[in-house]
């Protein structure tokens, strides 16, 4: 059995929503009871529509925001019980690359000082830090002369490489990539995807890739996790989920995703009606039931549990339960 890099158990993150009189009455349930395990050396792709809680989930794992309830176990350490020292160490082991590289590099600092910043914060002297920054640049296949450039002098693809270099400089074990290529053109996207795969093999990294682009997910990931309104509706091996999606929402998402072959356009499509609801005013029972063509009375009142249909494949739907029995 593979070793777990990150284990989430019934993780919840609620944001209080003010009713306008200072007292909060309701919550936006951005992450609503998610359990999943990401194994070491695995690339997990997280998909879902905007507002489904993907980015909040990443922020919770990174501990950029507090947990409402549940546990995050990183490399065997329960972070809710971790000491300060353990927390600090964990922060060097998980790194993140955000969507728009131009807006998360300081425009007034050189590339070198941006990459060195995390090292300096963690008490490494400047000489070693500079050496490590140079090494990180060569990992992302960029010439060291760019260390003295400013962000505005570089292209989108170069900036994304630098953001990746900065994420790599602390020797992380896990990297969270939030829409790493959605701001890039196709030819640059291909370069970055190839680079990410090379690095993952070379350094034995574990990735959690958040994206709305199913074609990217199919190319890069080993397993796909699908989120809908704060819940994980399906999680399983990429090919299995793509070929045989078990959750009605996954089916709808697959069908809606643009094809990359015009010969496929004639095929029958299951078009999902309506729009995703709001995290504040969540439907009862299964969050997907208002849009689900198979919804029954039970779906309206009772929340389904995760059904494990194979060792690596879980589905949050009553239908899967039935088929399995």
């Amino acid at each position: 059995m593979a070793e777990a890099a990150i284990e989430l158990v019934d993780l919840k993150k609620y944001f209080p929503v003010s009713n306008g009189f200072g007292r909060s009455r309701s919550y936006a349930k951005a992450v609503d009871g998610i359990s999943l395990t990401i194994n070491k050396g695995e690339i997990v792709g997280l998909v879902g529509e905007s507002g489904s809680g993907k980015t909040t989930l990443a922020r919770v794992i990174l501990r950029l925001t507090d947990i409402t309830s549940g546990t995050v176990i990183f490399d065997g350490v329960d972070l809710s019980k971790a000491t300060r020292a353990q927390m600090k160490e964990m922060r060097t082991k998980v790194s993140v690359v955000f969507q728009d590289p131009a807006s998360n590099l300081n425009p007034r600092e050189t590339v070198l000082s941006s990459i060195m910043r995390p090292l300096v914060i963690h008490g490494i002297n400047r000489k070693d830090a500079k050496e490590m920054a140079t090494k990180a640049m060569s990992l992302v296949k960029m010439d060291a002369r760019y260390l003295y450039s400013y962000p505005h002098q570089l292209s989108g693809g170069q900036l994304q490489r630098i953001a990746i270099a900065r994420a790599l400089v602390m020797n992380p074990k896990v990297m969270i990539l939030d829409e790493p290529t959605s701001a890039l053109d196709i030819s640059v996207q291909a370069q970055i995807l190839n680079l990410l795969l090379d690095l993952q093999e070379q350094l034995g990294l574990t990735y959690l890739v958040i994206t709305h682009d199913l074609n990217v997910i199919r190319y890069i990931s080993d397993r796909i996790a699908v989120m809908y309104l704060g819940r994980l509706v399906e999680f399983g091996p990429t090919q299995e989920v793509l070929d045989n999606p078990r959750h009605p929402y996954t089916k709808g998402l697959m069908a809606a995703s643009p094809i990359l072959n015009p010969h496929d356009r004639g095929r029958e499509k299951y078009m999902m009606e309506g729009e995703p609801g709001s995290l504040i005013d969540l439907p009862s029972g299964c969050h997907f039931h208002p849009r689900c063509p198979y919804a029954t009375e039970r779906c309206r009142t009772e929340a389904p549990k995760d059904v494990r249909i194979s060792e690596l494949h879980q589905v949050n739907c009553f239908l899967a339960e039935k088929e399995d029995a």
């Binding site: 196709i186 809606a256 729009e275």
Partner: protein, 328 residues
């Protein structure tokens, strides 16, 4: 489709922008035609000039900053020769346009219904009749609760609904050509699928031609009849969607097709295109892709490549007469 179904024809369209040290050739010698009821996609990476072409057709480019040369034939008239006053009659009435982010195009302090009505009133329709037409339009674009939604403000609507309002606003005046500049980029895939379905239905019902500007090949393969691929201000290849996806001839198109994530990582790495787009000063001769092309010869750097026809529907701009066959 015969000769007389042609609705728009661009002849050697060039757009130069005035910059500090001369002119930047943003669009060079772009020629193509769009037929009635056809969905025509212009696809290319950022900065390739695809939006400039769309904006040049309706003269929506920043004033006094650009030079437009060439001919823009629409329904027997050259739009490039029209005065501002004459153009106003074309915009919206003949050619409608929708943009990437509907929130930027809608006025936040008026209800969306009022904004749609405003366009209809331009055609001297009585107010009450115009309002009924607004409700009808909302139904046409499959807006849920059309009667209520006409009174909604933009902020009360989702991104998908706002784009429906924009499409309704354009259709209310029955244009024969709809220019859609990245119409679904700001939307989720499920909503994108709904909007694409709507555009396809509108084309089928009203025979409206659609010029779709996009960088998204998924969208192109989903909806386009014909495709023009642009690179650095030039159309490098033009053909039916099947010509482009099945038998791309230009080295740039071929490489783009190989860069699309259509496989899995187990099937090997994606092909990439090394190098970057050259600076587009307008006196430079030669193929603009030469510095990134694996097949470039000295001739490619000094002479403008010719346009080769593969079939009546398919042509590309390259010195290689058979088209590139091998993978670079």
């Amino acid at each position: 489709m015969g000769e007389n179904s042609e609705l728009l024809r661009l002849n050697e369209l060039c757009v130069d922008y005035k910059v500090k040290d001369g002119y930047l050739s943003a669009v060079r010698n772009v020629s193509f035609s769009i037929n009635r009821g056809e969905i025509f996609a212009i696809v290319g990476e950022s900065g390739c000039g695809k939006s400039t072409v769309a904006h040049a057709i309706l003269k929506l480019l920043p004033e006094h900053n650009e030079v437009i040369r060439g001919e823009i034939w629409y329904d027997g008239r050259d739009l490039n020769g029209l005065s501002e006053k004459e153009l106003e009659k074309v915009r919206g009435h003949e050619i409608g346009m929708i943009f990437q982010n509907p929130l930027d195009s809608l006025n936040p302090v008026y209800t969306t219904g009022k904004q749609v009505q405003e366009g209809i009133l331009l055609d001297n329709v009585p107010k009450a009749e115009a309002w009924n037409k607004v409700i009808e339009m909302y139904r046409d674009v499959k807006m849920p609760d059309a009667e209520k939604r006409v009174n909604s403000y933009p902020h009360e609507m989702s991104g998908g609904m706002r784009q429906r309002v924009m499409i309704g606003m354009m259709l209310a005046r029955n244009p024969r050509l709809l220019i859609a500049d990245e119409p679904t980029t700001a939307l989720d895939v499920t909503i994108e699928a709904q909007i694409l379905k709507l555009i396809r239905e509108l084309r089928d019902e009203h025979d409206t031609a659609v010029m779709m500007i996009t960088h998204n090949f998924g969208l192109v393969s989903e909806i386009a009849d014909r495709v023009a691929v642009m690179y650095a201000g030039e159309v490098v290849e033009i053909g039916t969607v099947f010509d482009i996806f099945d038998e791309p001839k230009h080295p740039y198109t071929r490489r783009l097709m190989q860069a699309l994530p259509r496989t899995t990582k187990a099937q090997g790495r994606l092909k990439t295109i090394d190098g970057s787009v050259p600076r587009l000063t307008n006196h430079k001769k030669g193929c603009r892709f030469a510095n990134r092309c694996a097949y470039a010869t000295e001739r490619c750097r000094t002479e403008d490549p010719p346009v080769n026809d593969v079939s009546p529907s398919h042509s590309y701009r390259c010195f290689s007469e058979q088209g590139v066959k091998e993978n670079g």
